[in-house]
């Protein structure tokens, strides 16, 4: 086959194009690696510091009269963060126990129970709280920010944070008795 005259010199890929291509590839790989890491991550673990948490509370479930509670206000106390939802059947198993445990600890003021309502509707949430006679502070997880921070994988999950703001225990699934709850809180109070 006869050669057709070349009208431009043979050249490789220009440097600027190579830089763009490789940069994009590296960016994609890094992105995927981080995403993969995130997907493999479980919930926050014992020993992690919980920095900030702001929960807007349902009216009627205020904390010391304020309709918002921040984790920073609670330093020096043991904080029990319980994620629940009205549409969650296993949550009902532990609701009564949680309230009983709260009754035991609320007098001293050294332990605070906070309920975080995960993607729920207010009427149903209130009905749930009323049904189990819950009295500790409760509020909706607006924008699912708090549950994302804890990286919860479902409800119910309960997180126990010590006086210095460090996570000490993670409970996945419902508690089976008040004694279970006590056995986690009491060591933290010592």
């Amino acid at each position: 086959m006869t050669e057709i005259k070349e009208t431009a010199p043979r050249r490789g890929v220009p440097i600027w194009a190579q830089i763009i291509v490789w940069t994009l590839l590296v960016a994609l790989l890094v992105l995927v690696a981080i995403g993969l890491n995130r997907a493999q991550q479980g919930q926050v673990q014992k020993g992690d510091k919980i920095n900030q948490l702001t929960l807007t509370l349902f009216s009627g479930y205020e904390y010391n009269g304020a309709n918002q509670v921040k984790l920073s206000d609670l330093s020096g106390k043991v904080v029990v963060v319980n994620f629940w939802a009205s549409w969650c059947k296993p949550c009902e198993q532990e609701a009564a126990d949680l309230e009983k445990a709260w009754e035991l600890y609320k007098g001293d003021g050294k332990v605070v129970f906070i309920g975080v309502d995960y993607v729920d509707t207010e009427p149903e949430a209130r009905a749930y709280l009323k049904k189990f006679g819950i009295s500790f502070s409760n509020g909706p997880d607006l924008g699912t920010k708090i549950s994302q921070m804890f990286r919860i994988k479902g409800v119910p999950e309960t997180y126990f944070i010590d006086q210095k703001g460090v996570l000490q225990y993670v409970q996945i699934g419902p508690f089976t008795s008040v004694a279970d709850i006590q056995s986690i809180i009491d060591p933290l109070l010592k």
Binding site: M1, T2, I4, K5, T7, A8, A85, S86, W87, V119, D120, T121, P123, E124, P140, L142, G143, T144, K145
Partner: protein, 171 residues
Amino acid sequence: MELKLSNKNLRITVFALLAVALAFFIASQIYRPALAQNPTPTDDEVNRIAHQLYCPVCENTPLDVCPTEACRQWRDLIRQQLSQGWTEDQIKQYFISQYGVRVVGEPPATGLNWLVYVLPPLVILAGAFVLFRAFRAWTKSSKASAAAESEIEAPKDEYVARLEEELKKRK
């Protein structure tokens, strides 16, 4: 019949194509097909809004077809809000503030989310531009030299090449 690829023709082509594209684009923005065109039993009014929202728990499932208990409650919530006279926008805003921005099918164009809308057109235009430049370079160089001779030679070359192919295959 030969026609030199002059600047004028090129410009006309490009403008014509852009005009057509612009017409398409405008038409598509004006005409958003209605989802339910019927007189309104309450279920349909709820679904009309629920269809535009996504279940916060199950991924990528529109709210009007999501079978979970939670979604049922959300649809009841929408029903309630509608009966209280909330507008569609108010309901959507409520859902966004309660459950985060993932409940709507497209992120609002704020902050980083601008990139979703801006990047694809930019990349496509950039690609088209690069190709256009390369094409221009080709036609400029080819105009001078091989145009006449390669035209005559090419078909014969093809024929010869094909014959060679067939002969090789028959071996």
